[in-house]
């Protein structure tokens, strides 16, 4: 199968799968079989294109001519490849996890959940494959819309409020800022194609370039750069698999992915460096890194702590993109994958704790590690990856980000990264340590067992991923290296 049709099929399949998912709603086993098979096939399709992309091919496919010169186009390049691989692999893992979680937690409306999930993944893959800014924008909006029912899944007042904030910020920023930026770009260049070396390079003055970039960076609310980050903690009312895959991987990563794409292919790294258009935005990214970590320290709710940690980590990638050096870009692209594996492990663990022990607050988790040793071991390894310590994949992305900030001559970003790593240790490691070594206050906890088997399988897979990426990051690295034109 040609890479172009594999790309098309990878997006079409989850959309198509939502129909049998709805139709087989009466029989949960069949429904989940459909999900799993689709996820596996999609992963296979995405994976089959890797050799072609590594060989330098850029498969392209025009779906629809919208206006003269403006079309919906897929074009696969290394950055999109990384994102698509991560999203499709973790979809499979999350699907396994969901089976255990949703049944173990007796959630309502599971059919709607699985159908929307499939649509969300299709949109995320659409973001990954986008060949021009319009396609990216369309897929981005579809992702917001398809995840809205997932955020409001519980149907409670709190979920409704969260949904309003979620859609309000994401749609508001995207239509208010990003769409304006897209139209502005079209007005300047008459094109929206992602082009190596930058579409806008040399076509726009420095201050205007800075303004346009700001419209993009703040218009992409999914990247959660402060002050447009509030939706992410709010969205934590969603069921844990949603938080895990969407709000640690697909949704937020499509945001930072879009910023990376814009910096590399719309502005061009050289152009950004020469105009300095991104310098002042770096301060926002740096501030988000630190403030996010500081707020995370104060959260007692585990998912809220992880959410603020995500906000902070996302800005690593944003900063990597804005540094506009080839090493930083490599690091940022790698961090998309590394953080995804680390954070999804942590969310899986949080969900497992909720299902098995019905606990959401960190202060209640004393001593839980002794009855749920697997879960907390995995949590520990995931934490290491987020912090960036060996033997986990997070080491490499932080290493390249640090090198990139030196290459760009922005020492203070390096310092910020170091401080943030210390803060990461401070808010993540105490959780497994307390769970293993502190003594539980109540005696009930002796009755608690590990989470259902599907959850444990998923946790095992993502933890193994964290470790594997330390010892063999070659696929991710080789792809990331090619983004900034490294052959």
């Amino acid at each position: 199968m040609s890479p172009a049709s594999a790309m098309q099929l990878a997006v079409a399949l989850p959309v198509a799968a939502s129909v049998p998912i709805v139709l087989t709603g009466r029989s949960p086993n069949l429904r989940e079989l459909v999900t799993l098979v689709t996820a596996a096939v999609v992963l296979g399709l995405v994976g089959s294109t890797v050799p072609d992309v590594l060989a330098g091919e850029r498969p392209e496919l025009t779906l629809l001519q919208l206006l003269p010169g403006l079309s919906l186009t897929f074009r696969l390049e290394p950055l999109g490849m990384i994102f698509a691989l991560v999203a499709s692999f973790l979809w499979l893992v999350t699907s396994i996890y969901s089976i255990g979680y949703m049944r173990g937690h007796h959630e309502q409306n599971q059919t709607r959940f699985y159908a929307c999930f499939a649509l969300a993944i299709a949109s995320a893959l659409g973001v990954a494959f986008a060949g021009n800014m319009l396609t990216l924008f369309v897929a981005y909006e579809l992702l917001s819309l398809s995840t809205y029912p997932l955020v409001t899944h519980a149907g409670t007042d709190e979920a409704k409020r969260a949904g309003r904030l979620y859609l309000g910020i994401l749609m508001g920023t995207s239509i208010g800022f990003m769409l304006l930026a897209v139209m502005w770009t079209w007005h300047i260049t008459g094109s929206l194609d992602f082009r190596e070396g930058g579409l806008l390079a040399g076509q726009i003055e420095g201050p205007a370039a800075a303004a346009l970039l700001a419209l993009y960076v703040f218009g992409i609310g999914k990247a959660a750069v402060m002050p447009f980050h509030r939706w992410l903690p709010a969205a934590m009312v969603a069921p844990t698999p949603v938080s895990a895959l969407l709000h640690a991987v697909a949704v937020v990563k499509s945001g930072v992915f879009a910023i990376l794409k814009i910096c590399v292919y719309l502005f061009g790294l050289d152009f950004l460096t020469s105009t300095g258009a991104s310098d002042w935005l770096l301060y926002f990214a740096g501030a988000t890194i630190l403030i996010g970590s500081l707020i995370a320290m104060r959260q007692d709710n585990l998912k809220a702590r992880l959410a603020y940690s995500t906000i902070s980590q996302l800005s690593y990638i944003v900063a990597g993109a804005l540094l506009a050096s080839s090493l930083a870009t490599t690091g940022a692209a790698m961090h998309i994958a590394m953080h995804a594996f680390g954070k999804i492990t942590l969310f899986f663990c949080a969900g497992a704790i909720l299902v098995a022990a019905h606990k959401t607050e960190i202060s209640q988790m004393d001593g839980l590690g002794r009855v749920m040793p697997l879960t907390f071991s995995a949590f520990f390894i995931g934490s290491l990856s987020i912090i960036g310590l060996p033997p986990t994949g997070g080491t490499w992305s932080k290493f390249y980000l640090a090198l990139g900030s030196l290459e760009a001559g922005q020492m203070w970003i390096l310092v910020t990264l170091m401080i943030s790593s210390v803060l990461n240790i401070a808010y993540l490691l105490p959780i497994p340590i307390r769970a293993f070594f502190a003594v539980s206050a109540d005696s009930e906890s002796q009755a608690i067992k590990e989470a259902p088997l599907p959850c444990l399988i998923a946790i095992g897979a993502s933890t193994a991923g964290c470790l594997y990426l330390f010892f063999d990051p070659s696929v991710v690295y080789e792809l990331a290296r090619r983004i900034a034109g490294g052959g």
């Binding site: 206006l67 909006e141 949904g163 309003r164 859609l167 304006l180």
Partner: protein
């Protein structure tokens, strides 16, 4: 026989609905036949409209002398890309609304008045088509009053007694507007001695500096402004849309203001000429300011409405602002955006009001409070509302996105980026008022009315979904709309610069 008729297509365009109006009354005893007659009449009109557009696109402007009296003595019907396009919009909407009417009207209108309702609907269609097709200034006034008078009747047939007061309110304002137009046409006649639009356009350049001409133009703008609900002359619109029967609202909201916009375009660009309107007189600035005020206040007020139809009506005021903005920019791109939005907004509002009509069919109410939880009871009607709502917001892949795209590009093209920001700001407000309904209708615990509701009948759902799908189709296949809108804009802008 057919070839003879083929030559008289422009006349038939108006005559077919005109004749069917009295036939409705003659056949009043068989309501079903009345409906079928109207259905046939509107579909025939659509077929004629498509044929006319095709002729215009291939062979250029068509001139038809009514009754064989040559212009400028007789009344000329003159069809170019601009009005062929508007006629297509009007007949297209009529053709979709008419199948919808059958069940909706049967439920909302007392049985003995059903034939009257259809007769008025046909007269309204006649008036709107006549206004669009004619090349005679005074004829515009006559057809305008035909459509207006029938509209007053249509609105007053709403079940709520407030329909009566709304119709009266509209009648007073509409008549003042119509009379203003009459005065304006009179002034044009005084300075030129002709009523034929093409003739007027030829003779006016000789008298550009006359105060009479300027005054006449002002009267025309205010008069037409009243009919097209230009801010701040929009006060009649919210009540009229809110209390009219569902079918009437869907039809009027999608067509009446569009035709008024067409009349404005025709007078500004063809008759008076853009040089006088934009350079000697500040029409462009006035249009832009009123457009912005309309789109901001309309969107803002819409957020606070408790009646969904009223909310959509205020949104119409805002959307008219978008259309007017394109006109105010006075560039080919701006006019293209306006012409596009004329078409797209007809699709959007038609679909939205028909979807609300579906909800009303079961719940007998359009108050937000009563629609609590209706989304889960009537998923198809509600789904239609959501998709059409997204099109209203201007989400990509829907028709609304295409016109907004052009409007923003038109603003950027002339360097007026604050206008671009305002256009997108309007979209943000649209998100708020559409999503407010979505949230209440989907998450609210069902109200007593919603609890008993079941999905609307197919007779309502199919026409509604045709319009909804048209929103998606024209959002992704823009060749036809953009092509024709652009051609129409270029036709209008011939006198520009």
């Amino acid at each position: 026989m057919l070839s003879v008729l083929a030559n008289d297509l422009p006349a038939l365009q108006v005559v077919v609905p005109l004749v069917s109006a009295p036939l409705c009354l003659i056949l009043a005893r068989w309501p079903r036949i009345v409906w079928l007659l109207c259905l046939a009449a509107s579909w025939t009109s659509l077929a004629i409209a498509i044929e006319l557009l095709d002729q215009v696109l291939s062979g250029g402007t068509i001139s038809y002398a009514m009754g064989g009296w040559a212009a400028p003595w007789g009344i000329e019907y003159r069809i170019d890309a601009v009005n062929a396009y508007v006629i297509l919009i009007v007949t297209g909407i009529a053709s979709v609304v008419m199948p919808y009417a059958n069940q909706s009207v049967a439920k909302e209108i007392p049985a003995d008045r059903v034939p009257l309702f259809y007769a008025l609907l046909m007269l309204c269609l006649t008036g709107l088509l006549g206004m669009t097709i004619t090349g005679d200034a005074f004829n515009v006034f006559v057809f305008l009053e035909i459509s207006s008078l029938s509209m007053y009747g249509l609105i007053s047939m709403g079940r709520d007694r407030r329909a009566l007061t709304s119709a009266f309110q509209y009648l007073v304002m509409g008549t003042i507007g119509g009379t203003f137009i009459l005065v304006g046409i009179g002034f044009l006649y005084v300075v030129t001695g002709t009523l034929n639009m093409a003739d007027l356009a030829m003779r006016l350049p000789e008298v550009t500096q006359l105060r009479t001409l300027h005054t006449g133009f002002a009267f025309l703008v205010v008069g037409i402004g009243l009919k097209l609900a230009m801010f701040p002359l929009h006060l009649w619109l919210p009540n009229a849309y809110a209390y009219a029967p569902s079918t009437a609202t869907a039809f009027i909201a999608a067509t009446a203001t569009k035709v008024a916009v067409y009349a404005l375009l025709r007078f500004v660009f063809t008759v008076i000429g853009p040089v006088i309107a934009y350079q000697d007189l500040p029409f462009g600035e006035i249009a832009k300011v009123l457009a912005v005020l309309g789109l901001v206040t309309g969107s803002f007020v819409a957020i606070f409405q408790e009646n969904v139809k009223r909310m959509l009506a205020y949104s119409s005021v805002a959307q008219i602002g978008y259309i007017l903005l394109g006109i105010g920019l006075a560039t080919v791109m701006g006019l293209t955006a306006s012409m596009l939005h004329l078409f797209n907004h007809a699709l959007i509002k038609g679909a939205l009001f028909m979807a609300v009509g579906c909800l009303f069919y079961r719940t007998r109410s359009v108050r937000l409070d009563d629609l609590r939880g209706i989304g889960r009871k009537m998923p198809w009607s509600f789904g239609a509302f959501v998709i059409a709502g997204l099109s209203l917001i201007g989400v990509p892949l829907t028709a609304g996105f295409v016109s907004k795209w052009y409007l923003v590009q038109a603003s950027l093209e002339v360097g007026q980026w604050p206008l671009a920001v305002l256009v997108l700001g309007g979209s943000l407000l649209a998100i708020i008022y559409i999503w407010r309904v979505v949230e209440i209708a989907w998450f609210g615990s069902p109200s007593t009315r919603a609890a008993e509701a079941t999905e609307a009948p197919l007779g309502l759902l199919i026409p509604t979904w045709i319009l909804v799908l048209a929103n998606l189709y024209f959002g992704t296949h823009t060749g036809l709309t953009v092509g024709v809108a652009n051609l129409a804009a270029r036709t209008l802008a011939e006198g520009l610069r």
